[in-house]
Symmetry: D2
Subunit: 350 residues, 4 copies
């Protein structure tokens, strides 16, 4: 396919980590190309000024946000913007005839949940209804042909891929689920604060937003859908002194007699043909570095006969499978392409 016939992509929020990761990943995509990088705060400046790693690679200036101008340059827009921005922008972009893949949390919840957990005004109901939740390996079939895709959060992606098959199959008690999640610092974005200060985080480990993280309702919504009954989960998040990676350790009561090997087989069946989920063999638990820079989600299992509980360990790169990579996977699915197109990176190890 020649460059002229590639799908043209614009990125709003090109000066955040999600935005530059989209640029990195799309640089080798065979059927899509980035034709506009957009930042309202830095419009007019060369993108490489704030990101010298792009020096001589991306030489264009940052565009401002203007739906009609974007439409002239692009077919699809990724919005990698702070909470509340896409809620206002997406209707305009859709009206201009663009397809939208939103990486923020704006379209993931019901209006009430959104306002409670994000403390922002919710998008209009019409657009909430229209948005497809792009957890690729679970809802991928709904993504084909969608106009507005809501890309899942990083914690929900790691967590839900580790829980959905067992909940759907009824192998675990959905109201016994405890999720202990850990994330690298890049999940907090590029904004400078005491909360992202090197000397405060290095050689340090801490819990934050205990029982109050805004990804809680997103996780519970999908678990409820999988269980066919209302699910409430315990969800605690922690910060790890590293840049990339999420590891989610999940605990639940096993219903019935299911061994570790049974769980492994159940998940292998569920994810059959989905290249980006790798189910580890018995005794092997994934580490975040083993998916670093790639779109993989690796999952390991252990059923403890002493307690009757299963421990599930799931890892992703929060900026790839947890953000930009899954967004591109959704672009592929939306366009009817192979979902792995342009995403077959080997993890960078070590």
């Amino acid at each position: 396919m020649s460059s002229k016939t590639k799908v043209r992509v614009a990125i709003i929020g090109s000066t955040g980590y999600g935005g530059v990761e989209l640029i990195r990943l799309l640089s080798s995509h065979p059927q899509a190309e980035v034709t506009s990088v957009i930042s309202s705060s830095s419009a007019g400046a060369p993108i490489a000024e704030g990101f010298p790693h792009l020096y001589e690679i991306r030489t264009e200036l940052l565009d401002d946000i203007d739906p009609l101008a974007i439409k002239a340059k692009a077919d699809v827009v990724f919005t990698a913007t702070p909470a509340g921005v896409a809620a206002k922008l997406a209707p305009q972009l859709l009206a201009a005839g663009l397809k939208v893949i939103d990486l923020s949390g704006d379209y993931r919840l019901t209006a009430a949940d959104y306002e409670q957990w994000y403390r922002k005004q919710s998008p209009e109901q019409e657009y909430l209804d229209q948005a497809v939740f792009g957890l690729s390996e679970v809802y991928g079939d709904k993504v084909l042909g969608a106009e507005l895709i809501s890309n899942p959060g990083c914690y929900p992606t790691a967590t839900l891929l580790g829980l959905v098959p067992a909940v759907k199959e009824g192998w675990i008690d959905p109201n016994s689920i405890i999720i202990d999640a850990k994330s690298g610092i890049s999940g907090a974005g590029r904004g400078a604060s005491l909360g992202t200060h090197y000397s405060e985080l290095n050689e340090n480990f801490k819990a934050y937003k205990v029982n109050q993280h805004q990804h809680t309702p997103e996780i519970e919504k999908v678990l409820t859908d999988a269980a066919g009954e209302q699910v409430t989960a315990t969800f605690t998040t922690h910060l790890v002194p590293m840049t990339r990676g999420i590891l989610s350790t999940m605990y639940a009561k096993v219903t019935g007699e299911h061994s570790t090997a049974d769980f492994i087989q159940l998940y292998r069946n569920y994810y059959e043909g989905r290249r980006f989920v790798r189910i580890r063999p018995e005794g092997s638990y994934p580490a975040t570095k083993e998916v670093w820079g790639s779109n993989y989600c690796d999952i390991g299992f252990h059923v403890d006969p002493r307690t009757g509980r299963v421990t599930i360990v799931s890892v992703i790169d929060n900026l790839v499978k947890g953000a930009a990579g899954q967004a591109i996977q959704n672009l592929n699915l939306m366009m009817g392409w192979d979902e792995t197109l342009g995403l077959q990176f080997v993890p960078a190890y070590p």
Copy 2:
């Protein structure tokens, strides 16, 4: 008190991290002094050769292990040795008239549990019976006058200080307990292996020994004692890319109506007068760096009315409160001194 009347201390295993941390902490102890540093593998070499940070501070040579020679130089021996060594040494040291504080796991379990989880031959029953488990804030009253003290493991210290008051009071269902623990790498000791290799661990986070860590029976033994019934717990350990620090996140079903504030009050009462446990106010959760280099254990709480569970977050410096510091605290208690003697370090921040 003049140097001549100080209690004389020998350290076996002076070339490990526990051993050098004992040297660091005891250097400013007003009533104890290190008179012999011992290492069977490096006997005859200056201790500063392997630890240049001690250059010009400790100039003596490492002694070999010889109970009678130790007795000539010391009153108390700390054994900071690999699993199985103290099981053989302690009887000889006791026979020579020395008091022993063992930092390894050799005297913490029943014979059967020890052989199952450590895969070593257990110490003789006589000495298992004699050993006092030195979790200072829980069993401190039994330490006074003891001859053989078994210093708790790092994970059990952080975990049990966070659980014992609630279990004792019956505020949580002891068989609902899930412990998700995270440790810095120094907990693995100074031995070189792929498991302690910088490039493998840096920018990485992983689970290990899922449901199979050898500290499990030590934790369950104390919880069983506190609950007055047999307790089984889910316990998973993780490695954090940092050198020092343990954070234990604990989850349990709350029995009855107890708020976050209630838990805080319960723990403040339980630990009243014990300086090294700091109960955080509501909304504050401790980070490992906030106790770095010190003997503190900080604990925070959150009861989630949505799930009926309490989340307890506890942190220590694994080499201090989780090893050398608590060992000195036990020396203080054993001798009838103030337990804070020589241990009133302010955490090194940042």
Copy 3:
């Protein structure tokens, strides 16, 4: 000495890293005690609010800056303030009868150099004349009885202790000196910016302020003093992804025939009796971690007969010997006490 007769110390800038490190180190000083912690930006708040590691250790509220009120509580003031603040404060504090030890750069340079390199208005000449430059092992004899002490910068401390003896003795060509210095991130202070953002600095190493660091004239001034002729040096600074520590690698042309062993002997003679400078034996080069948390400066040497140059490697903890520790050492010298009082910490390793 009872608490009542201790020297009373106030710290202005208690919410920065220099300030809290003073609090940590002074907590065990036998003849000084902190009686007022001061912060204009957070006056009225408990100091432990911004620094939870001090919880239950320091329970007082932060005072505002008021020279007379300070005088009522203290005898000596440490100013650990941003550039330009002490230039205004010190005259008022001196006028109130307080002794001042300034940790900022305000009193280290000539008026002209200060304005060129710091881009602030210089302090009045009278006070520049009065200030004693407290590089303890070089100018310590001038510190006794001083009223205003200018504590050296972190880079100059590591660098000058490594260069002064050889320059004084004429063993190296002073105009051939190249200083390649590396610092942990805490040297940049606690302010939040992209320059202190974890994800930008972790797994990263970079040069900054090449040939333009404001510590250049401070270094050249002392080298000029030691050489007895005008010295110009090349000085480049780098950021290391760690919190604490400075390592300075220095290169110079050796004049005459001096071996590595000769250099070691020269420095041992020069620093005889000064406990905080440790000259390493031949073949041993210091690492920053080997002085972590302590007031030591360790120095190693290698003369290369192939090139006729000497390589000198010097390390300090930037927050201790490079700031708070040396400031206390200057307090000791100023008061006529043993310079090691309250500073005999063993480095925390690992």
Copy 4:
């Protein structure tokens, strides 16, 4: 080009960091494919056993070293082996009709220098004569059609790309050169030792092999070639607590009147058309993270009129441009392909 006509590549040393990086980079090469992964120590085991990040990506077993068997599967062999191994293997591989690209230091020096600095027996002179030193941007024209390529060391690559143009042009005094180089820990390989132990290296910075690094003669050989006279350089290496990246800071006396802008122009001219060297504009100095995971070498400059010296800062990813990436670049040049084939990765940031 279909897979059948791709050049077939074997990798000896597939269980080291250089080997797995070759696998990662070659996975997207359009004209080469890895057909045999070889490890004498782990032959018969699945490669993903020791490197779980390759799980389901590379499913084959490791082959043993057997030149004829390799020849049946491959056209070109990369030897990413410890010092001394390729010296013995390369003649056999060449005799079997294979082309060899050696990533070790075995073929980089004269026989006498090799034996002095590597303390191993040198390869036979015939093969030393035959080997082409593959510093791509300097000697690339000699690589076309070569049978045996010696891939440069990581430190020499970063250093020489920063020095050769100025030395060739006579703009700096070649005998005034001082090289202060810093490397991430992955440069030490995957072998476990105290020297690669996490707790020893984290939050630590140190110099090593001062004036004695085995890359010294490799650097001096190329500088001598560029200068047209014998060059001796001062070269010191340091370890940075990070996994990947080398930064080399270089100092030299400028001959004549050349500004920073002049240097920039000189280097832009020299490297014109060579995509992997990026010359930064005035005031911009590269950081290692800005080339992480990519084949770029970025270089910045500053001429200090105060001292008459130039400071040159150069960065690479030691495992890519310093090893596997440049080796593939040499494969491309050897085969007459565009040197950027399969190497156009955007650096992974942050």
